[in-house]
């Protein structure tokens, strides 16, 4: 996707159409980030609720709708991680975090699934953005709040690690 195509204003697009168009992207990103499809569903719904409230301030000249939604999704997920951490600390279960059965997608090879589950959320999210959603470096950088070069480095490391895990699991 070219920069000009991404930057085209979509003022005429309705929220409903935008949500419909990018629902799978947001959901997929959150699945990879959380390793939990059920949780990803809730967070996706939360993301679109927030997006609905913020829709008035969305400016397509600054970022595409997909990038903007991914940013909101990321903030929502981080908020959840934060609250979960507090909850675990309160319940003194921080040392033994809840095990989540990773299930990223139907049809994904078990060894890839297992390898992805072993990656950190930070590594999985960069793979999700760059590989799964096919965002370019600049868009991914905008979502992650880092430079495109840092995205490239982070992606390279994550994929290398994934490959290593896959080769071990195979």
């Amino acid at each position: 996707m070219t920069l000009s195509a991404r930057r085209q204003p979509t003022w005429s697009a309705s929220f409903a159409a935008t949500a419909e168009e990018h629902l799978d992207d947001v959901y997929g990103y959150l699945v990879y980030l959380t390793r939990d499809r059920s949780l990803a569903e809730d967070l996706t719904a939360d993301t679109f609720e927030k997006a609905l409230r913020l829709w008035r301030r969305f400016d397509p000249a600054r970022a595409s709708a997909r990038t903007w939604l991914c940013q909101i999704a990321r903030t929502t997920a981080l908020d959840w991680f934060r609250s979960e951490e507090r909850r675990q600390q309160r319940e003194e279960r921080a040392a033994a975090p809840e095990h989540v059965d990773a299930a990223f997608a139907d049809g994904l090879s078990p060894y890839i699934e297992a390898a992805l589950a072993e990656l950190s959320a930070g590594e999985r999210e960069v793979i999700a953005l760059r590989v799964l959603l096919d965002l370019d470096g600049e868009e991914a950088a905008r979502v992650l709040g880092i430079s495109p070069t840092a995205v490239s480095t982070r992606l390279s490391r994550a994929l290398k690690k994934l490959e290593e895990k896959v080769s071990v699991n195979v």
Partner: protein
């Protein structure tokens, strides 16, 4: 990284379940309205706004500078007040233009007709005792005209019942000639005298000062009356046959002092009255060339002044707000760094 692995990840992209899709669709039914202009405001647009603000500042400075009344007046300003208060008027360069046509009157050395409307713009109030002083600076064409104007000025003072208090005349063969004349003229006729004097050349500037003497005179008069009453009392006491010698000496001493004081007070009152009756005019005649560019340039200078003041105000604001702005930026950066660290930790843990 094998392409097959990436392709598999892409091919198995998770799809939102129907329940979630329906939930989001329901949300979309409440279509929100678009944002008003202000909420869409981008800080990056400041880059466009800043040059526009600069242009506005320059234009404002130009408009203010070119339309300000005191620019036409050559920067001089006058302060006039009601009778009883001190009045001082500074050099008024505007008179340079107004007086230009009068230059010819000096050529024939004929006495110009005295007209009231050419007199001082600040005049003594009739019936009020005031000290009136005026400074008048005139340019004459050359040394010959300087000599004639000096003589004419003395004659004007005499014609108005006044006198020449002092005169300094300097007319070199080359260079600038000048004459400084101090004239004393009855206050009642000072306007007429000023009108005639102002026609001796081109007015470069004039200044007037009025100081109220009535209060001073009234105070002196009151003190005189009090002293007179006191003397009368002492005299009465001295006529008493029962007065002891010692007291008589004391009273006579007091009588002497009071009489001395009365003499001083009377002299003071006479002096004050004399001051009020006579105005002083400091007349300067010069062959110095007028700098016409000074008036023209004053407009541009004033635009520069306004711009300079705008710059000073901006600098002042920056100096005041700078530390707070810097502190704010540092706090913001620290909070941002902290947030990033937390996010990184959370993403590594999950």
């Amino acid at each position: 990284m094998s392409e097959r692995l990436l392709n598999e990840i892409r091919a198995t992209k998770p799809a939102a379940p129907p329940a979630l899709r329906e939930r989001v669709r329901t949300l979309g039914e409440q279509e929100p309205t678009r944002a008003p202009f202000l909420s869409r405001f981008e800080w990056r647009r400041l880059v466009l706004v800043a040059p526009a603000a600069l242009v506005v500042a320059v234009v404002a400075a130009g408009v203010i500078g070119l339309t300000r009344d005191d620019v036409v007046q050559g920067g001089g300003d006058q302060m006039a007040s009601s009778a009883g208060a001190t009045t001082t008027a500074t050099w008024d360069s505007a008179e340079i233009q107004r007086s230009e046509p009068q230059r010819g009157t000096l050529k024939g050395l004929a006495a110009p007709p005295a007209t009231d409307n050419l007199g001082a713009p600040v005049a003594p109030v009739p019936g009020q005792l005031q000290r009136f002083e005026a400074e008048l600076r005139l340019r004459v064409d050359d040394v010959e005209a300087l000599s004639s104007a000096t003589k004419r000025a003395q004659r004007i003072a005499l014609q108005h019942g006044g006198s020449v208090a002092s005169l300094q005349y300097d007319a070199p063969v080359e260079g600038v000639g000048a004459a400084q004349i101090t004239l004393r003229v009855p206050t009642a006729r000072v306007q007429s005298a000023m009108a005639q004097l102002s026609q001796l050349g081109t007015i470069l500037g004039q200044r007037y000062g009025i100081e109220d003497l009535q209060v001073q005179a009234d105070t002196l008069q009151t003190q005189i009356e009090q002293t007179q009453r006191r003397i009368a009392q002492i005299l009465t006491q001295l006529e008493s046959p029962t007065l002891s010698n010692e007291n008589r000496v004391v009273l006579q001493s007091r009588l002497s002092a009071s009489r001395q004081k009365l003499t001083g007070l009377r002299e003071g009152l006479r002096g004050t009255n004399a001051e009020g009756r006579t105005a002083t005019i400091y007349l300067t005649l010069t062959t110095e060339e007028i700098q016409p560019a000074a008036v023209g340039n004053s407009r541009i200078d004033d635009v520069k002044d306004v711009l300079a003041w705008e710059g000073i105000a901006l600098l002042y604001a920056l100096v005041i707000a700078g530390p707070f702005l810097l502190l704010g930026i540092l706090v913001w950066l620290a909070l941002r760094l902290r947030r990033r660290q937390i996010e990184t930790r959370l993403l590594e843990q999950n």
